[in-house]
């Protein structure tokens, strides 16, 4: 099974800093990591590869420094990595990003001489928290998508996915190729070994630019991004919220609606 894993380099901090003028993430002076949910997606992909054979390729869209994140992925089981980077991609929102990454899928398939059976993403990035890029990629590529996956089992050219939901799990089967987004797993991703770390360090990571992807510039970068950020702020932490413990989701919803009506909010 050939698997593509899309990863994002994110700042390693819980205190995300946002530039008050451009409303984009401040990356300077903040150490970077691979988005934790993406590391779970990679682990799922590598385990499938170990079981079924094939290849795991990782891609990331971002500046040159995102190669560090790709190297980390190479040290924990990815076979190849590509950086998707071009000035024309700068300032992309989730729609533009998913469009560019979808175009990159085809370009990487050509470079690798294979077809991907499965595209994996983390459920969301911990900096933007939108959870939009994975599902949007599926739409751009016109592929089936399953979000919030905890486990993927392959059988007879299909995958069965255990999807996390509020009240338990859904078991969903789909044909391949497909796009699946992965949540935090009950196990931790593997560590690099000294050998894989050294090998990853030496491995070359090609960069695919605008010209390599055959994309329409109108859908890339700031110009291709319909999202307009009006403002950003850090919400105040308050402790006097009302908590409904030990209540089923349906009942909790009803109680919440009642509370909102009683307090004349609705």
């Amino acid at each position: 099974m050939n698997i593509l894993v899309c990863i994002k380099q994110v700042p390693d901090t819980n205190e995300i800093k946002i530039d008050p003028v451009t409303h984009t993430l401040v990356r300077k002076g903040v150490p970077s990591i691979v988005n934790p949910f993406d590391t779970y997606a990679l682990e799922v992909g590598v385990r499938l590869k170990e079981q079924l054979g094939g290849k795991v390729v990782v891609i990331s869209m971002g500046p040159e420094q995102a190669k560090e994140a790709l190297k980390t992925c190479l040290s924990v089981g990815a076979d190849d990595a590509y950086l998707i980077s071009d000035r024309k991609f700068g300032g992309s929102d989730t729609l533009a990003t998913s469009y560019i990454l979808s175009s990159a899928v085809k370009a990487v398939e050509e470079k690798e001489g294979l077809k991907f059976d499965l595209i994996l993403c983390g459920k969301q990035a911990v900096d933007g928290d939108t959870a939009q890029v994975g599902p949007e990629m599926a739409e751009h590529l016109d592929l089936p998508q399953i979000t919030y996956a905890l486990d993927i089992v392959y059988e007879d050219d299909k995958i069965q996915v255990k999807r996390e939901c509020d009240d338990g799990y859904d078991m969903i089967t789909t044909t391949l190729p497909a796009v699946v987004t992965v949540v935090k797993l009950p196990y931790e991703p593997r560590y690099a070994t000294i050998r894989t770390k050294m090998a990853a360090k030496k491995k070359e990571i090609p960069t695919l630019t605008f010209d390599d992807l055959k994309t329409d510039e109108a859908y890339c970068g700031l110009g291709g991004s319909p999202t307009k950020v009006k403002g950003t702020y850090t919400p105040n932490r308050e402790k006097n919220g009302v908590k409904l413990n030990g209540v089923e989701a349906n009942d909790a919803g009803a109680q919440l609606a009642e509370w909102l009506q009683t307090n004349k909010i609705l």
Binding site: Y191, A192, I194, R195, M198, K201
Partner: protein, 380 residues
């Protein structure tokens, strides 16, 4: 002189640190209190290549060097002195002498699984009557037909309860004194070999320190390590390497204690101020940090000298002398900054203080290190 850690070593330090923080630190207090050998982490370290760092890949090792190995022991010891010494004893005292003195067959049979971490190693020199005076070996080995027969006992053997392969020293010719001592590779299951009682120790409590008993223990003839009668030299040169490992353990314990204390004093309030705002706290920690950095340079210097195949006995002795005394000093001072809370097991500092003390004792006491250094200086 170049005091910059290159990218390759730094990357591996990051790897060691990530493992130490995520896997070793969370169980450090528990294994100290229960004296439980951390087998699960030894297995994880084996997978990552941490049990064969300085050995070539063709021998099953990770193909790195002594410097990277001591940096691993340092990072582990920052959070758990026990885990640091498990790796140090295995690597320096068991795998290294086989790599240095073993035959090709011995390397294939014993070094490879040790370096790959499939087997754990230990080193047995000390006896009830032969500690610092290691020449007073009472364990004897006699060649009978095609095998050696060992009789005697060893004490204070690190990793003993968990190890598969032991480097054991015994008298093959009592009349020759130290020139009558030989080294052997002994497997856990050899007939007549058993593990005795486990010591109840002050610190490094999970490292499984036990007695070894040899009662007509049968060791194949080909398991002689090095030449007959050259065992004492082999043991001493092995301990030179071991001392760099223990110096790194001591260095790590001191660094770990300082890290924890900096966090504590930045939060603890007394007299309406954080105790980090008092000049006594600032000066204490500044002195500790400066001395610890000095120890680090000595440890790294000794490791680099070994990697460069220079004579490094005196450098290893200096590194161990300074780093171990610093570790005891730093952990004691850090505990003082903690005050009463530091004396409880709710905080790691009392464990670090207990772990630090042994670094002044094993693999040559501080007094032995001073004998080595003064001898090298020609002060007789």
């Amino acid at each position: 002189m170049n005091f910059i850690i290159d990218e390759e070593h730094q990357d591996l330090i990051d790897l060691y640190r990530e493992f130490a923080e995520n896997e070793v630190k969370p169980i450090a207090a528990e294994i100290d209190q229960t004296e439980r050998f951390p087998q699960e982490n030894v297995e994880k370290m084996a997978e990552m290549g941490l049990l064969g760092i300085p050995f070539p890949e063709e021998c099953g090792g990770a193909g790195m060097d002594t410097l990277s190995y001591v940096q691993c022991v340092e990072e582990l010891s920052k959070v758990c002195g026990t885990t640091g010494v498990i790796v140090s004893a295995h690597t320096s005292l068991c795998a290294t002498p086989i790599y240095t003195y073993g035959t090709e067959e011995q390397k294939e049979k014993y070094l490879r699984p040790l370096a790959m971490g499939e087997k754990l190693g230990a080193f047995a020199l000390t006896e009830p009557g032969a500690g610092t005076d290691a020449s007073g070996q009472r364990t004897v080995a006699e060649l009978v037909d095609d095998h050696w027969v060992l009789n005697g006992s060893k004490i204070f053997i690190t990793n003993a309860g968990a190890a598969d392969i032991f480097i054991v020293f015994a008298m093959t010719d009592k009349s020759q004194g130290t020139k009558g001592i030989s080294g052997f590779i002994v497997e856990k299951g050899f007939p007549g070999f058993s593990i005795g009682k486990q010591e109840d120790k002050m610190g490094i409590r999970a490292s499984s320190t036990c007695e070894l008993v040899f009662e007509n223990c049968i060791v194949p003839k080909e398991n002689l390590l090095g030449e007959v009668g050259k065992g004492f030299r082999l043991a001493m040169s092995t301990l030179d390497g071991g001392r760099v490992g223990i110096a790194a353990q001591a260095l790590g314990i001191a660094e770990g204690a300082i890290d924890e204390t900096v966090k504590y004093v930045s939060e603890r309030m007394q007299f309406g101020r954080r105790i980090s705002q008092f000049q006594n706290t600032q000066f204490e920690l500044a002195k500790m940090k400066a001395n610890t950095e000095a120890a680090k340079l000595l440890v790294y210097q000794a490791a680099c000298a070994k990697d460069n195949h220079e004579n490094y006995s005196h450098l290893a002795a200096m590194a161990k002398l300074v780093a171990s005394q610093n570790a005891s000093d730093v952990t004691r001072r850090c505990l003082q900054l903690y005050g009463g809370y530091g004396y409880t097991k709710d905080y790691p500092i009392e464990r670090m203080m207990r772990d630090a003390k042994i670094t002044e004792i094993y693999e040559g006491t501080s007094e032995v290190q001073m004998m080595v250094i003064s001898g090298w200086m020609g002060v007789k």
